[in-house]
C-alpha cells in the first residue's frame, strides 16, 4: 500500500470538511430563516466531526494530532478545493455550494465504503448517513427554491454559474490517482465527477435552473496542492485565533 497516496487522499477529504464546516458555521445567528440557521449550524458540526475522523486516520498513519493539523498549518499547506473556502456570500450562494459539494461528497463516501483500506471503510460507513441527510437537505431546498419566484431562481442561477468552475475543482486529479485506483483504495476523480454530474442534472431538471455548458468552463484547480484564493488564510487565522493564544491549553 502506498502510504503517501493514502495520505494525499485523506488530507483533501478532511480539509474540505473542515473548511466547509467552518464556512457553514458562519451562518449561525444569521440564517435567512431560523430553520435554515439551525440546519447550516448542525451540518457545520457534522462536517467538523467528519474532518476529525479523517484527521484521526492521518494521525494513525504518523501525521500530527488532529488539533495540530487543523490549527497550525498555513493556507499553502491545505488540500481543500477552492470551492469550500469561498466566503458564504448570500444564502443562495451558500445553498448552491452546499448542493454542489455534498452531491459529490456522498458519492465519494459511497466509494470509500468499498475501499481496500479498512480504516477508511469503517469511518465512511459510520458517517455516510449524515452526508446522505446533507444531500437530502440540499436537494430539497434547491428543488423548492429553484422553481419558486423569479428572484430566487435568478439568484440561484447566478450563484450556480459562479460556483461551477470552483465545483469542478473538487475533481482535480491526485498525483497518485493511478496508484489509488490500482490498489483499490479509491475509484478515482474521473468516475466521481461523471456520477456527480448525472445526479446534479437529475435535481436541476426538476427546477427552472440551467446547468451551464461544462465544456466552456475551466475548472478552478490548484486547491489540492496548496494553491488557494485570498479567502483561505483569513479564515484559518480566525479559526485558530483562540487556539494560538495558548496551544498547550487543555479545553
Amino acid at each position: 500500500m502506498n502510504t503517501e497516496a493514502l495520505k494525499d487522499l485523506l488530507y483533501k477529504i478532511a480539509d474540505d470538511q473542515l473548511i466547509l464546516g467552518h464556512r457553514n458555521s458562519e451562518w449561525t445567528g444569521f440564517g435567512p430563516i431560523l430553520e435554515e440557521d439551525i440546519a447550516f449550524s448542525s451540518m457545520a458540526q457534522d462536517k467538523l466531526g467528519h474532518s476529525l475522523a479523517f484527521y484521526s486516520l492521518l494521525h494513525e498513519l504518523g501525521e500530527s494530532d488532529p488539533d495540530t493539523i487543523a490549527f497550525t498549518r498555513n493556507a499553502n499547506q491545505f488540500h481543500n478545493s477552492q470551492l469550500v473556502e469561498l466566503p458564504i456570500g448570500e444564502y443562495d450562494f451558500s445553498l448552491i455550494r452546499h448542493f454542489l459539494f455534498d452531491n459529490a461528497e456522498i458519492l465519494r463516501f459511497d466509494m470509500l465504503t468499498r475501499s481496500s483500506y479498512t480504516p477508511i471503510t469503517t469511518v465512511a460507513t459510520k458517517l455516510k448517513g449524515e452526508v446522505k441527510y446533507h444531500v437530502l437537505h440540499a436537494n430539497t431546498m434547491i428543488k423548492q427554491l429553484g422553481s419558486s419566484t423569479e428572484e430566487a431562481i435568478g439568484r440561484l442561477q447566478n450563484s450556480l454559474n459562479e460556483a461551477l468552475p470552483y465545483a469542478l475543482g473538487i475533481f482535480e486529479p491526485s498525483k497518485y490517482e493511478a496508484e489509488l485506483i490500482a490498489d483499490g483504495i479509491y475509484e478515482g476523480e474521473e468516475k466521481l465527477k461523471a456520477a456527480w454530474l448525472e445526479n446534479i442534472k437529475k435535481v436541476l431538471s426538476q427546477t427552472q435552473l440551467e446547468l451551464p455548458d461544462l465544456t466552456t468552463i475551466t475548472p478552478k484547480n490548484g486547491g489540492r496542492y496548496g494553491e488557494h484564493t485570498e479567502h483561505l488564510q483569513p479564515l484559518l487565522d480566525e479559526m485558530a485565533e483562540v487556539f494560538k493564544i495558548d496551544p498547550t491549553a487543555e479545553w
Partner: protein
C-alpha cells in the same frame, strides 16, 4: 377622560380616547403548519413532537428533522399537514373519549361509492402528554375510521383525545434512508452538558488567590 397607569410601559401605548371602528386583522404572512411525529427507537410507536411551518411536506420533513431529531435518539419521522388532522373533543381522564363521542352513523357507514383507504389513529392518554400512534384502520371517511378505531382500540384506556389522519396524507421517512438518523453518539460536543468547566474555573480562581 384618559386612562393613566402607574406603569410607564402602559402609558407609552398612547391608547386613543375614542377608539376607531374595529377592523379585520390582517392575515399573517406565514407558511402552513405541519404536525411532526417521531419514532424514538425501532418498532416504537410514532409520537407527536410538535409543529413546523413549511411550504410543503418535503421541506416540513427537513425542518422537523432539524428541530425535533437532533437532541434525542430518533429512528424515523412522519409529517402531516395540520388541516389533515381530524381531532375529537377532549375528555377528563376518568372517561374514555370513545365512550362519549357521537359518531354520525350515516357518514360512518361503509359507502359503496367511496373507496376504502387507510387512516392512522393516534391516542392521547393524558392531557399535557403527546399523541401516540396506536394503529391503522380502513374506512371510507374520517367518521368511519373513528368508528372502526372504537371497535379496535376502544378498550385501550385512558384515551382523552383521538387524532385521525389519512395514511395518504402522512409523509414518511424512507426505509432506505434509515442511516440518516445515525448521528454518532460520540459527538458529545453538541451538548452543553459536555462542557464541564466549573472545576477548571475553581482551580484557576484558587491559583489566582494564591498569587
Amino acid at each position: 377622560m384618559s386612562l393613566q397607569s402607574l406603569d410607564p410601559r402602559v402609558n407609552r401605548l398612547h391608547l386613543p380616547e375614542n377608539p376607531s371602528e374595529p377592523v379585520a386583522k390582517t392575515e399573517l404572512d406565514q407558511l402552513e403548519t405541519y404536525e411532526v411525529f417521531h419514532q424514538k427507537k425501532e418498532n416504537a410507536a410514532y409520537t407527536y413532537v410538535g409543529p413546523v411551518h413549511a411550504p410543503n411536506e418535503e421541506v416540513a420533513f427537513l425542518f422537523g428533522k432539524e428541530q425535533y431529531s437532533r437532541r434525542f435518539a430518533c429512528t424515523g419521522m412522519w409529517v402531516a399537514e395540520t388541516r389533515h388532522v381530524m381531532v375529537t373533543p377532549y375528555t377528563d381522564e376518568a372517561v374514555s373519549v370513545y365512550d362519549v363521542i357521537r359518531i354520525n352513523q350515516e357518514n360512518a357507514m361503509e359507502n359503496g361509492e367511496k373507496t376504502a383507504e387507510a387512516y392512522e389513529i393516534f391516542h392521547l392518554k393524558k392531557r399535557g402528554k403527546a399523541h401516540a400512534h396506536v394503529g391503522t384502520v380502513t374506512a371510507t371517511s374520517y367518521e368511519g375510521a373513528l368508528a372502526e378505531a372504537k371497535k379496535q382500540f376502544g378498550e385501550m384506556k385512558p384515551v382523552v383525545n383521538v387524532w385521525v389522519i389519512k395514511a395518504a396524507d402522512v409523509f414518511r421517512s424512507e426505509a432506505d434512508d434509515k442511516d440518516i438518523w445515525n448521528t454518532t453518539k460520540d459527538k458529545m460536543y453538541r451538548e452543553a452538558t459536555a462542557y464541564r468547566v466549573m472545576d477548571k474555573i475553581t482551580k484557576f480562581k484558587e491559583e489566582q488567590a494564591a498569587k
